[in-house]
């Protein structure tokens, strides 16, 4: 039962990832892509937590944390570049 629900959760996360990826490819402008990228990273963090659960290893949570940190910095930097006051 728990295993089945875990698979269901993974599939939902995968579908969400594909939807966000579609928006990322589709654009139409830079800000849309960054928004899609932001959502993609958050979905990836969830995916990493799911992997940690399946593999039963707590180390993966550190990966998720560092990933969250770096992606947040990345988004902030790109957004500041896009939003430069003219």
């Amino acid at each position: 039962m728990v295993e089945g629900l875990l698979y269901l959760a993974s599939m939902l996360a995968g579908a969400a990832f594909l939807l966000a990826l579609y928006r990322f490819v589709q654009g139409p402008n830079a800000v849309d892509r960054v928004v899609a990228f932001d959502v993609l990273t958050v979905i990836s963090i969830t995916a990493i937590v799911l992997v940690a659960l399946v593999e039963n290893r707590i180390v993966y949570l550190d990966v998720a944390l560092v990933y969250a940190l770096l992606s947040f910095l990345g988004v902030i930097v790109i957004a500041r570049y896009l939003g430069k006051e003219t």
Binding site: L5, A13, A20, V31, D38, A79, L82, T86
Partner: protein, 112 residues
């Protein structure tokens, strides 16, 4: 060896990822940048929080670290959303409908 706690945890995982899915769907259905940011941030924030809570039910000994990830996301997600929204507005990608109200553009117009 399935306890009630495990079942609750797995249920939360599915609920959380369902919100992520809704977020992805909204990202494609919404017509303009700001609405996409709205759906993207809110759905993914709650989705991730629920998933982390579910993981906490399945592995109570991971709770502290999961809480740390949750706290971090709870603060950074809205922040990046705001910075992105500001970038979208400043770079002129925000187009509201004809009768849409935009106090920000009005006030900026005053200053120029």
């Amino acid at each position: 060896m399935e306890t009630l706690l495990d079942l609750i945890g797995a249920g939360l995982l599915v609920l959380g990822t369902a919100f992520l899915f809704l977020g992805g769907l909204g990202l494609n259905r919404m017509p303009d940048v700001l609405n996409r940011i709205q759906v993207g941030t809110k759905a993914t924030t709650l989705g991730t929080l629920l998933t982390l809570a579910g993981a906490g039910f399945l592995h109570p000994d991971w709770a502290l670290k999961l809480l740390l990830v949750a706290l971090f996301l709870l603060f950074t997600n809205p922040l990046s959303a705001q910075v992105l929204a500001r970038a979208a507005h400043r770079s002129g990608h925000v187009k509201l409908s004809e009768d849409g109200i935009d106090h920000l553009a009005e006030d900026q117009g005053d200053k120029l």
